[in-house]
């Protein structure tokens, strides 16, 4: 397969090369993640120091922080956009669209994705979505302010909150762009993995990262259309006067709304039908990265490969049957709630399988401590911590008290955000040499890890204390409630830890960009890893392999095989 010579535009902008598209997604996701992080810092600023004036911030946010004090409506926009940006534009784009595109062809031995044009199109579809989301901060009324879950009527009726005006419209338009892009990507993943595997690469010889991306592609294809439908119907309710989500009798701002016949619960069902698989769209790639990274740096095959694959499939399937656990106290039928308890807690079983398989991969190993392996070990720790708190929330009787409290915030920041983020960091440290032909600084990487790991626990573990004590989510000033006032020291502690956590990420950003030019040149296989992607040149060009695509003779986890001279046997060696 011949590849034409590329000019600047076709190489860096409208590129068809899956690696370049992956890196484009990276740049976009990291920029969005940086903005999402700043929003988090502002949220914590308010919760740590409720309603204190910060005069210098007035220059940056003349409306939201007029005279330096954060307004409640700005606070609501902050956490709405923090959630939206982090869930969709960082944690979905980076591990799935970024690493999926970059890694799938390399790991399965393909020259490119099945549909390179669609791939380019999917990136250039999400870019306007991201721009629209950012622009929404600067419109009249500010950015969307109905939570990342956008529950109507708050999100449907313009006078319900300032952000529900133009900000919410832009949010919906941005999300529709995102969904369009993501479904194109998902289709490409599934078709590529099913059709373009190199000779000898049976499905059960694929790396767990590719397995995860395969299931994620299917999940995205089946779940995101529900959000697209919901977003479209909500746009109709907002702009065309329909009533899909709005019943009769809504009275806001001295006006009786003309709607009738809809129900807000319909939105919740549509949203969470996406929302829960979305959690696993974020989680599964991180699980895949962790498995690949741990095997390489433990110099040991991944323990229980088969059950890992089945666990990915089981989690993927179950993820479609659990959305109602977000709605135990929503007014949904209590009988339905009971059904969702059973399916929800069933997910704990494949999750436990993964946790134990990782533990047994680490046991009897010879662990090399690189930045990548430290983040991989971090995923294991965070995954277990966050997974266990899910048992409280999945049990509907106990969820009554903990629902919509900081317990939930702590829970999903460990399991979804935490494991997802640490997985992505590990993956960057691990595959960076293939991306840029240079090594990241290990010294900075380790400093980054230690700050991130300790600060992450310091920020999110105490949130469980807040939740158990009853502190609700999404409140601008907890001190309004007497029973929450004693918790102010905990909030202050979390805020300080959050500042440290954010500062730690600057080290990563510096390392990432400076190493692109100044990093030590990478060899083709710097970690002595066995996966097929390491058979490419140190800095693979368009088409990935210079000669023939190597066939796969084995699975990618042959480390420390007895009787071999080296402690790894590459997948492409007979």
């Amino acid at each position: 397969m011949e590849h034409e010579k590329q000019g600047f535009v076709s190489k860096y902008i409208f590129s068809f090369d899956h690696k370049m598209i992956g890196k484009q997604y990276f740049t976009l996701a990291m920029s969005m993640g940086f903005i999402g992080g700043i929003l988090a810092v502002l949220i914590r600023l308010q919760l740590g120091f409720p309603s204190q004036p910060w005069p210098f911030l007035e220059n940056l946010f003349p409306v939201g922080m007029a005279s330096g004090i954060m307004t409640p409506e700005f606070y609501v926009s902050l956490f709405t956009m923090h959630g939206t940006i982090m869930v969709f534009f960082l944690l979905s784009l980076l591990p799935v669209s970024g690493f999926g595109n970059f890694l799938i062809p390399l790991q399965i031995g393909a020259r490119d994705m099945a549909f390179p044009f669609l791939n380019m199109l999917s990136f250039w579809t999400v870019v306007p979505g991201a721009i629209i989301i950012i622009i929404s901060f600067f419109v009249e009324g500010g950015a969307a302010a109905s939570g990342w879950t956008a529950y109507p009527p708050l999100s449907a009726i313009r006078s319900a909150i300032p952000g529900s005006d133009l900000g919410q419209t832009l949010w919906l338009v941005g999300m529709i762009f995102f969904v369009a892009s993501f479904t194109m990507g998902g289709l490409n993943f599934v078709v590529t993995i099913l059709n373009l595997r190199t000779k000898g690469l049976r499905m059960m010889r694929m790396p767990l990262t590719t397995w995860a991306q395969f299931v994620v592609g299917i999940l995205g294809l089946l779940s995101f259309p529900a959000l697209a439908a919901g977003a479209l119907l909500l746009t109709f309710d907002r702009s065309l006067g329909t009533s899909f989500f709005l019943p009769a009798g809504i009275f806001i701002g001295d006006t009786l709304m003309p709607h009738e016949g809809g129900t807000p619960l319909l939105w919740q069902h549509l949203f969470w039908f996406l929302g829960h698989p979305e959690v696993y769209i974020i989680m599964l790639p991180a699980m895949g990265f962790t498995s690949d990274i741990l095997a390489t740096f433990c110099r040991r095959p991944i323990f229980g490969y088969r059950s890992m694959v089945y666990a990915i499939m089981a989690i993927g399937t179950l993820s479609f049957l659990v959305w109602g656990h977000h709605m135990f106290v929503s007014g949904m039928s209590p009988f339905l709630g009971s059904l969702f308890v059973v399916t929800t807690l069933a997910i704990a079983i494949p999750s436990a399988v993964k946790a134990f398989n990782w533990l047994f991969t680490i046991a009897r190993a010879r662990i090399q401590f690189t930045s990548a392996s430290l983040f991989g070990l971090g995923v294991v720790s965070l995954f277990v911590t966050g997974g266990l708190t899910g048992i409280f929330l999945g049990t509907n009787a106990v969820d009554i008290q903990l629902h919509d409290t900081y317990f939930v915030v702590g829970h999903f920041h460990f399991i979804m955000a935490g494991a997802g983020l640490f997985g992505a960091f590990g993956a960057v440290y691990y595959w960076y040499p293939k991306m840029f032909g240079r090594m990241l600084s290990e010294r900075l990487g380790k400093i980054h890890f230690w700050i991130t790991f300790v600060a992450y626990y310091a920020v999110f573990f105490p949130m469980h204390y807040l939740g158990v004590s009853g502190m609700m989510r999404r409140i601008y000033d907890p001190n309004v409630y007497e029973f929450l006032q004693p918790l102010q020291p905990v909030n202050l502690f979390i805020t300080i830890a959050a500042f440290v956590l954010f500062a730690g990420q600057l080290i990563f950003i510096y390392n990432y960009f400076v190493s692109m030019r100044r990093g030590a040149p990478a060899t083709a296989n710097p970690w002595n890893a066995a996966g097929l992607e390491w058979s490419t040149p140190a800095y693979p060009g368009h088409g990935n392999w210079e000669g023939e695509i190597p066939p796969a003779h084995r699975w990618p986890y042959d480390y420390s095989e007895p009787g071999k001279k080296r402690d790894f046997t590459p997948q492409w060696e007979a």
Binding site: P334, I367, T370, L388, L466, D477
Partner: protein, 289 residues
């Protein structure tokens, strides 16, 4: 290995990782004990028991797993003398053990949870005091049905400054109805049934001391019931984002002795008591025997 990644086998990292994980486990667990659920004032103590059972099981799993993780990281760090890794990567016996083991631990939790859920969400007892909570940006109105035990009709076109709940005064059932804003008063040791509806967006009533939380959904009437077992004044919170004033949508729940409650009723809502003769007339006959 000559070409091993530089500095990657430093024992410091492995030991540090183990120590940090152990320290996190110890500190996070010790501090957990200091933060308990808010003081219980309802009959829903069994939900707390289940919470503590799950806390015990997951807490033990958390501590054991993280300690084990720290241990294997320490024990199998790459630079230990005679370091070798094993090719062993499959054990059906082990995998079956932890699959079945996890399921075996979860099944009793699931069933206990479902039984308790049934108890919580089952129909309210006949003798319950019934109040309709009306949520609005950003206040709570508690609508009492009065002596007839029936709520007057409401009509959204009647919402006004002096008629926050849109009560239709022409409905005979509305004659003895009355409304409290941001204050709910109920007698102790008698089931309280709270119906709820929203005037505008979604809200959620959260009674932290009573283990009660339920969303208010426009266009629907939702409900909860519980029995307060302790007198006193408690905070009522909104737990579902409802707008810029969500954080200050607060009310108070007063739980009174039955006698004080009757006194309070006749002091504050004479109309509601006047026609009823005995205020307890809405209680069912003591026994059918």
């Amino acid at each position: 290995m000559a070409d091993e990644p530089k500095g990657s086998r430093g024992s410091l990292q492995g030991i540090a990782m183990a120590v940090v994980i152990w320290a996190i486990v110890v500190l996070s667990s010790l501090y957990y004990v200091r933060y308990g659920v808010p003081e219980l004032a309802s009959d829903r103590g069994y939900l707390d028991s289940l919470y503590y059972v799950i806390l015990g099981i997951t807490g033990a799993a958390y501590i054991l797993y993280q300690l084990a993780l720290g241990y294997v990281i320490y024990r199998y760090r790459g630079d230990r003398p005679g370091a070798e890794s094993s090719y062993w990567h499959e054990s059906h016996k082990l995998e079956l053990t932890w699959t079945i083991g996890t399921a075996a631990i979860l099944i009793p939790i699931v069933f206990t949870g479902l039984i308790y859920w049934e108890r919580v969400r089952g129909p309210a007892p006949e003798d319950a005091v019934t109040v309709m909570a009306v949520g609005a940006q950003f206040q709570w109105d508690f609508h009492y049905p009065g002596a007839d035990g029936e709520f007057g009709r409401f009509d959204p076109t009647l919402y006004a400054i002096d008629n926050q709940i849109g009560l239709d005064e022409t409905d005979p059932a509305a004659a003895d109805d009355w409304v409290l804003t941001n204050q709910l008063v109920i007698p102790v040791n008698r089931p309280a049934r709270i119906l709820m509806r929203s005037k505008d967006v979604q809200h959620a009533i959260f009674l932290p001391n009573f283990r009660v939380k339920q969303d208010l959904v426009p266009g629907m009437t939702t409900e909860v019931w519980f029995t307060p077992v302790k007198t006193g004044s408690y905070e009522v919170a909104c737990a579902e984002l409802c707008g810029l004033g969500h954080y200050r949508m607060r009310a108070f729940l007063e739980v009174m002795e039955e006698a004080d409650y009757r006194q309070w009723l006749s002091d504050n809502a004479p109309a509601a008591v006047a026609d009823a003769g005995e205020p307890a007339a809405d209680a069912p006959p003591a026994s059918a025997e």
